[in-house]
């Protein structure tokens, strides 16, 4: 029966090629546009560290003076050197890392490569185990290296390819700002999206090329990058940032057991109270402890333009669907006579309904397939856009399945009403009017 209905559907669709094409194209455009944007949204709001993100937290403290005070306002989004070091040394979480961004001049040993500037991350030892960074060669540094202000460096595999042709470079020397650093690790394939641990560098910016101990970076006065915000008599120069009333560091903690999260928050409150008693903090304790995904929300990482584009695409899909429903309805109703004859000859209402639904499903399927192709074209267009997230816009399996499901669902929705409406026909009336 199904193959017969399919045959009927194809015949009917072939009878009016332009109209069939119009319906298929409308569905395809709608599906293509909305799936492109939903894929971009899906990629951008993804978890940068699946399986690990729920154990990572970003503490916020309020070390500012009384100026600009507003009760309950959000504390600064970074920490001062003093607070960062205090929290780091307190070791109240399972792991903790203090970090900031920078840029270092790299002076390759080979004379064939000119010196160049590269983004850097100055951080403490736990960065690597805490964020589960893969290593191609070697490993990260230890807390002893932090304390000894060791001149050691971890580089990305990209930089390793550029300078050492992809060979195991651990133990080699990398000169940065006239200082010799020993390479102790080469990272594997790692690009967390978004660049969650420091969103000041651009929400979807790529990985820094070199990672070195924060203590060593401060010894050498390596240039800093990123956001800083000062108050009171802050606004010092970079060389004196340790004592300045400025926030310029990011502090992350790993807390493995959910039960201990509240403990850590209490610790932050107690710490703030202590600092207030010492006269360093002038405001009453105002702390936050956001989980990684929550931190991304707080920072509104997904660009509002992308959300807007998604709404727009869904609106477009709706118009395309209404358009198709209208056309299909008109088409089915025009065949009232034929359907009346079938009903009069004994076809049940369900049978007629099924037949019409097969016809609309064929259109939906065709629209879905074209829509999928259009979504690939759309994503290719998105990738050609200049935004920093553009390169990430790729279809994955989840979205591929979702696209297909959406196409079928959309076309069935579009077919249901016309099919139902068409089988309400009273056969006698149709036969009479013929």
């Amino acid at each position: 029966m199904f193959s017969y209905y399919l045959d009927l559907a194809l015949r009917s669709l072939r009878r009016n090629k332009a109209l069939t094409a119009l319906m298929v194209v409308a569905i395809a455009l709608g599906i293509g546009a909305s799936m492109t944007m939903l894929t971009v949204l899906h990629v951008l709001s993804g978890d940068p560290l699946p399986g690990k993100s729920q154990t990572l937290f970003y503490p916020q403290l309020d070390p500012r003076d009384k100026a600009d005070y507003e009760a309950g306002a959000e504390p600064p989004r970074q920490v001062t050197w003093i607070d960062g070091m205090n929290l780091l040394r307190a070791r109240r979480a399972d792991r903790q890392a203090l970090m900031t961004g920078g840029a270092v001049p790299i002076q390759p040993a080979q004379s064939s490569v000119d010196p160049f500037f590269s983004d850097a991350r100055y951080t403490t030892a736990d960065f690597f185990p805490m964020f589960d960074t893969p290593f191609r060669y070697g490993r990260g540094w230890s807390e002893a290296d932090d304390d000894a202000r060791s001149r050691v460096v971890v580089i990305t595999s990209e930089l390793n390819d550029k300078l050492f042709g992809g060979r195991d470079s651990t133990g080699q020397i990398l000169r940065m700002k006239d200082t010799a650093f020993r390479i102790i690790g080469v990272l594997g394939d790692w690009r967390p999206n978004p660049h969650f641990y420091d969103l000041n560098m651009g929400d979807y910016s790529g990985l820094e090329s070199v990672f070195l101990p924060l203590s060593a970076s401060r010894d050498l006065h390596l240039p800093l990058n990123g956001s800083r915000s000062c108050w009171g008599d802050g606004g010092s120069d970079e060389a004196h940032f340790e004592t300045a009333s400025c926030v310029w560091l990011q502090f992350w903690v790993q807390i493995n057991e959910p039960a201990k999260v509240a403990d850590y928050r209490n610790f932050l409150v107690r710490y703030s109270q202590e600092q207030q008693a010492l006269g360093r903090f002038q405001r009453s304790p105002n702390v936050r402890l956001s989980g990684l995904m929550q931190w991304l929300d707080v920072n509104k990482v997904v660009p509002s333009d992308v959300r807007l584009q998604t709404w727009l695409a869904l609106g477009f899909l709706l118009v395309c669907l209404v358009n198709t429903v209208g056309l299909m309805l008109a088409k089915f109703l025009r065949r009232s006579g034929e359907l009346g004859v079938r009903r009069a000859l004994g076809a049940s209402r369900q049978a007629v309904f099924g037949q019409l639904l097969v016809e609309s499903a064929v259109i939906g399927l065709a629209g879905g397939v074209f829509g999928l192709l259009l979504a690939f074209v759309g994503l290719w267009l998105v990738r050609r856009q200049p935004s920093d997230y553009a390169a990430l816009a790729h279809m994955d399996l989840t979205m591929l399945g979702a696209t297909f499901a959406a196409a079928i669902a959309a076309s069935l929705c579009a077919g249901l009403l016309p099919a139902w409406r068409a089988c309400q026909i009273t056969p006698a009336l149709q036969l009479k009017s013929q």
């Binding site: 109209l19 119009l22 409308a26 455009l29 546009a33 009384k66 100026a67 600009d68 005070y69 840029a103 001049p105 002076q107 000119d114 010196p115 160049f116 500037f117 700002k177 006239d178 240039p223 009171g232 008599d233 802050g234 606004g235 010092s236 120069d237 004196h240 660009p303 509002s304 333009d305 959300r307 807007l308 584009q309 727009l312 695409a313 609106g315 477009f316 709706l318 118009v319 395309c320 209404v322 358009n323 429903v325 209208g326 056309l327 309805l329 008109a330 088409k331 109703l333 025009r334 856009q385 200049p386 935004s387 009403l417 409406r421 013929q434």
Partner: protein
């Protein structure tokens, strides 16, 4: 034209008519809001900067090793750059318009004021005003004796020694209007932290390097602070920029070879990349608007064709009873006009609703009323154009159809 028979026909095709109305309403609502967004983006892209954009190049250098006396070197750099033929002005800078990286400061009218009155971008460096080509509308430019060195200013911050700070500042008109509405800002004092700065000059416009809030885009200060950082802006005739840039890089390399060029770009390029997302968004919105209108128009064509085919006999009868071709044509046009009008009416309400949603979530202004009549006219026109084909086919139905059964 008699509307009643049209209405009675439409009543027999309630669902189909409703769908056409719905489609027109949705299209109308989305297109109105999208066009509004497009115009806003285009306005933003053409935001004035107040600087001679086509004449400026920016060069930023960074030291590879330990640095010698930066401030002396900066003076040598500036002198060397000035000698390049074709260069009209040179400035040392720390930030440039549309450069994305920005120093900002809270400005107070009273040093003990709790919240700053406004947040402004702070331009440091020598000869910034002349090199940028910003127009001074009142007061004077900064003079050599106004200047302090950045390291001394930082020292002043650390030791709380206000004497090490500069005493003068040049502000933009926008800053003046916000701080002292309706008054002359010249000679007045504003505070950066605790440091008092006297306003000695007012600029027409100077855009910030990074714009978080478009209404504060022109909040900039030029503070007389000497820099050693190795970032320069060079002004020349637009056609000379490429040659000047090349010569400048060579000069700077000669002055100190232990430096890397981090940036070398024209301010035109800066504007281009600053607004690239807005441009992409505007392009996308235009694409969606066109696609929506085309889909809607094709939908009307498709539906119109159906109705004409379905009513061939009725048309034949009417023709046989004396209706002219013109009457038939007119019938379908009026029908479409009716549907479009109802659709547009719903569309306007919907457009307003969508605008409210956007105002709530995307901080957009209210949709100006002028969009409603324009949107209506556009959709009426599209409806009429779309229905013309089917209507002409209907008008061509010969009266003899009436005499044929089926």
């Amino acid at each position: 034209m008699d509307i009643l028979p049209i209405l009675s026909t439409l009543r027999r095709h309630k669902v189909t008519a409703f769908l056409v109305i719905l489609e027109i309403a949705l299209t109308c609502a989305i297109v109105c809001n999208a066009v509004f967004l497009i115009i806003q983006r285009v306005d933003r892209i053409h935001m004035p900067s107040g600087v001679a954009e086509h004449e400026l190049v920016q060069i930023q250098l960074a030291d590879t090793g330990a640095k010698a006396d930066e401030y002396a070197r900066a003076q040598e750099d500036l002198a060397a750059l000035r000698q390049i033929p074709g260069v009209t002005q040179v400035a040392s800078v720390r930030q440039v318009p549309f450069g994305m990286s920005s120093n900002n400061a809270g400005i107070r009218l009273d040093p003990d004021q709790n919240k700053p009155t406004l947040d402004a971008a702070t331009y440091f460096g020598e000869n910034v005003i002349d090199a940028f080509g910003t127009r001074l509308v009142a007061g004077r430019n900064l003079r050599p004796d106004d200047y302090r060195r950045l390291d001394m200013v930082a020292e002043g911050v650390r030791t709380k020694n206000l004497k090490l700070f500069p005493n003068t500042v040049v502000i933009t008109r926008a800053v003046g209007e916000r701080l002292w509405p309706g008054q002359d800002p010249l000679g007045r004092t504003l505070y950066l932290g605790k440091a008092p700065l006297q306003v000695v000059g007012v600029l027409a416009e100077l855009v910030r390097p990074q714009i978080e809030d478009d209404s504060a885009a022109l909040f900039s200060l030029v503070i007389p602070i000497q820099l050693g950082g190795g970032q320069y802006v060079i002004r020349s005739a637009p056609g000379d920029r490429e040659r000047v840039l090349k010569a400048a890089l060579e000069k700077l390399r000669q002055n100190d070879p232990h430096r890397i060029v981090v940036q070398k770009r024209t301010v035109d390029e800066l504007r281009e990349s600053f607004f690239q997302n807005d441009r992409a968004m505007a392009g996308l919105l235009i694409g969606v608007c066109v696609a929506l209108l085309v889909v809607t128009a094709l939908g009307i064509v498709g539906l119109g064709s159906f109705w004409v085919a379905q009513r061939r006999r009725m048309i034949g009868v009417r023709r046989a009873l004396g209706a002219t071709r013109h009457d038939i044509l007119h019938y379908f046009q009026t029908e479409n006009f009716l549907l479009a009008t109802i659709g547009i009416a719903f569309g306007m309400v919907l457009a307003y609703g969508i605008n409210l949603f956007l105002m709530l979530h995307y901080e957009l202004p209210r949709l100006p009323a002028v969009y409603f009549p324009i949107g209506a006219v556009v959709l009426w026109l599209i409806g009429q154009i779309a229905v013309l084909g089917p209507a002409m086919r209907a008008a061509a139905v010969p009266p003899v159809v009436a005499t044929r059964s089926v």
